[in-house]
């Protein structure tokens, strides 16, 4: 789960990481009141969970209250990269002397948390990594021991933090590390971490919490849905409620696979043969017929899906269960959309029989099946276009 900037900054404060004085506002009046309380100039920051918010006009400075009113009116209700702005963070403006980059994430190779830091902040870490890889300090941390004070100091020395900010920096980094572990973060990022006229300040926050750990972080659950937060599409949220691992894409071939790897392979193959996947939908292991039924129905009812391509390798999953689920869905929804099924493995012959009885053609080879799905989809688009023009 991604946290909004203001949520991340609330955690920052809890862990002793200094942030500029700020107030969250949901209306123009609240924004003006906040600015009045903080004192102008202020910065208005759209609270949306998309990258490149600054470049898209989501962060603006306002020098006086009437400017706050005017700019807050513009921002609230507008869209930043397609995401509606419901909240602003109104922050007291500070004078920036220098911008640093600081984050903690997970290093897959060492299986440890890793601190990434750079004296070149304010831009994406990807950009620093690409253009000045030598400017990034990387230090893995022993997750059993945590970040020791001396390690934080070593990073401060490597970044060339001025003496007067050294101990603040070390404490701040230790706070960030504790936040990272206490909140099961996948990423805890401060960019920029700025040296300002008010001392060291975290000017932005980016915190992503491991979804698998949310059961132990009930304080983060605001009641707002993932769709409302802009983290999922409406269909993704619906699929999540059905317990399906689903990612919406912009093509028209609905994809169902069992296993994430096989499902991605299916998407890739459709694309390889010139088609466009409408989604990633992984049934997971040992899928029951109910699960297959739900998934099939879900995609058959999805407006963007023109053709369904179901690709199953029956290992622990039984092909007869899969076939039963497909048939249940088809019977309920009707076979409005063409369907291509590849089904091999455990109990494959029973499965084939079940499907053939309702007239669904079954493949044993996923490549042949992919080719057919692509062909059907392009025909369907043709028909559909004809329909519109006719």
């Amino acid at each position: 789960m991604k946290l909004y900037e203001y949520e991340g900054k609330q955690l920052f404060q809890k862990y002793g990481i200094p942030v500029p004085p700020g107030i969250v506002a949901s209306t123009v009046e609240e924004a003006v009141a906040a600015a009045e309380k903080l004192g102008t100039p202020v910065v208005l920051k759209a609270q949306v969970l998309v990258g490149g918010r600054g470049k898209a006009g989501g962060i603006v400075k306002a020098d006086a209250l009437n400017e706050v009113r005017e700019k807050a009116s513009k921002l609230l209700g507008s869209e930043i990269r397609g995401v509606p702005v419901h909240k602003l963070l109104v922050e007291k403006a500070v004078t920036i002397e220098k911008e640093l980059y600081l984050s903690i994430t997970m290093d897959r190779v060492s299986a440890r948390p890793i601190i990434l830091a750079s004296a070149m902040g304010g831009v994406d870490i990807e950009e620093i990594a690409r253009e000045h890889p030598e400017a990034i300090v990387r230090r893995p941390v022993d997750p059993l021991l945590g970040l020791k004070g001396y390690e934080a100091r070593i990073i401060a020395y490597k970044l060339g933090i001025p003496k007067e900010h050294l101990s603040t920096f070390a404490k701040l980094l230790q706070g960030l590390y504790r936040l990272f572990t206490d909140y099961d973060a996948e990423l805890a990022e401060i960019n920029p971490l700025a040296i300002t006229d008010q001392g060291l300040l975290a000017l932005d926050s980016k915190v992503i919490v491991d979804d698998n750990s949310l059961y132990r972080h009930s304080d983060l659950l605001t009641g707002e849905s993932r769709a409302e937060r802009g983290e999922m599409t409406e269909y993704e949220e619906k699929a999540a409620e059905l317990g399906l691992a689903y990612v919406e894409l912009d093509g028209n071939i609905g994809i169902i696979g069992n296993g994430a790897g096989l499902t991605m392979a299916t998407m890739d193959m459709v694309s390889y043969y010139g088609g466009k996947p409408a989604d990633f939908l992984d049934l997971g292991g040992a899928a029951s017929h109910e699960r297959v039924y739900k998934a099939t129905k879900f995609l058959m009812e999805h407006p963007r899906v023109d053709v369904l391509f179901i690709n199953i390798f029956g290992g622990i999953t039984r092909c007869d269960e899969v076939a039963k689920g497909i048939v249940e869905a088809v019977k309920e929804v009707g076979a409005k959309k063409p369907m291509v099924v590849k089904l091999v493995g455990t109990n494959e012959e029973i499965g084939w029989k079940i499907l053939e009885e309702v007239g669904i053609k079954v493949f044993k080879d996923m490549e042949a099946a992919a080719q057919l799905a692509v062909k059907l989809a392009s025909e369907k688009r043709g028909v559909s276009r004809d329909g519109h023009t006719g």
């Binding site: 870490i125 790897g261 096989l262 890739d268 390798f313």
Partner: protein
């Protein structure tokens, strides 16, 4: 020789009385895996498919001192504790099937196991099979047959699909390792590839990768440096996955500028590792490399 598991592997099943644990105990026994004991707290004294169940791993190991491996089916919230229990009891290989374990838990138990000289495989993976010798996992045994191909994969089903295609084409496997779909795993493909390089029963390595992280790039770098000399064929999925989205596996995500399939494919190809675009291509590439030798 094969890697990780073989005929000397003696398994304790943690969470043996659960639905999954019990079901796969049966399948592993049918495959010929030597399962010596099961553990479920509070269920000590019963047996599951003839396997005696204990309350604690400590007790199970005391009764079955030849046990050397654990496979874990316990729910995510209790899985970390189960790993500590296995490692502290002296088991040297711990295969974690459980998915949805918080990744900070995984980081801690993986590092703990390292200190104690134990190896974790998984979590969120199908386990390990050395066909004909031992299966410590949930893969369908009939998709594999003994041979000389070492498979390391971040995916489950895709591996079965590919190994069964390889098997049909006459290419059996020395060992197939599903490292698990999480961002942090106990044994990553780099380590598995190194094991295959040393394994005299492996002639060719199949690396099945996916988006997320840069482990495949690092394998490519090892090949480029000559640290890996055995022939290798790659297959990378997720070429069509959008950035910033998790594709089923918690670890399958393009983020912070790393993890793109195209970068992995390029790195491997530049290191001289051919990369297939489809499973059937992969089989052809294996054929070509082995016959070309």
């Amino acid at each position: 020789m094969v890697i990780l598991v073989d005929e000397n592997t003696k398994v304790i099943v943690q969470g043996i009385t659960g639905r999954q644990g019990s079901f796969h105990t049966k399948l592993m026994l049918e495959y010929g895996t030597k399962i010596v004991a099961g553990v479920t707290p509070g269920k000590g004294g019963i047996d599951v498919h003839g396997v005696p169940v204990y309350n604690t791993v400590e007790e199970a190991v005391a009764e079955h001192p030849d046990a050397n491996t654990s496979i874990i089916f316990v729910p995510a919230r209790f899985a970390a504790d189960a790993v500590y229990e296995a490692v502290d009891a002296g088991l040297k290989l711990v295969v974690v099937i459980t998915e949805h374990i918080p990744v900070h838990d995984t980081m801690r138990f993986v590092n703990y196991a390292r200190i104690k000289g134990a190896r974790v495989v998984g979590p969120n993976g199908p386990g390990v099979i050395s066909p004909g010798k031992s299966k410590v996992g949930i893969m369908p045994g009939n998709a594999f047959r003994p041979g000389k191909i070492g498979i390391v994969s971040r995916s489950g089903t895709l591996t079965y699909e590919i190994s069964s295609a390889l098997s049909r084409a006459g290419y059996g496997q020395s060992t197939a390792v599903g490292v698990g779909g999480d961002p942090i795993v106990g044994t990553n493909p780099i380590e598995v590839v190194k094991m295959f390089e040393k394994d005299e029963d492996t002639d060719l390595i199949v690396l099945i990768g996916e988006i997320g992280g840069d482990i495949e790039e690092r394998v490519a770098a090892m090949v480029a440096k000559g640290e890996i000399t055995k022939p290798m064929v790659g297959y990378i999925v997720g070429r069509t996955a959008p950035p910033g989205k998790r594709m089923g596996h918690a670890g399958a995500i393009i983020s912070m500028g790393t993890g793109r399939a195209e970068d992995k494919v390029r790195a491997l190809e530049e290191a001289g590792v051919p990369v297939a675009e489809t499973p059937s291509q992969l089989v052809s590439l294996v054929k070509k490399m082995l016959e070309g030798r």
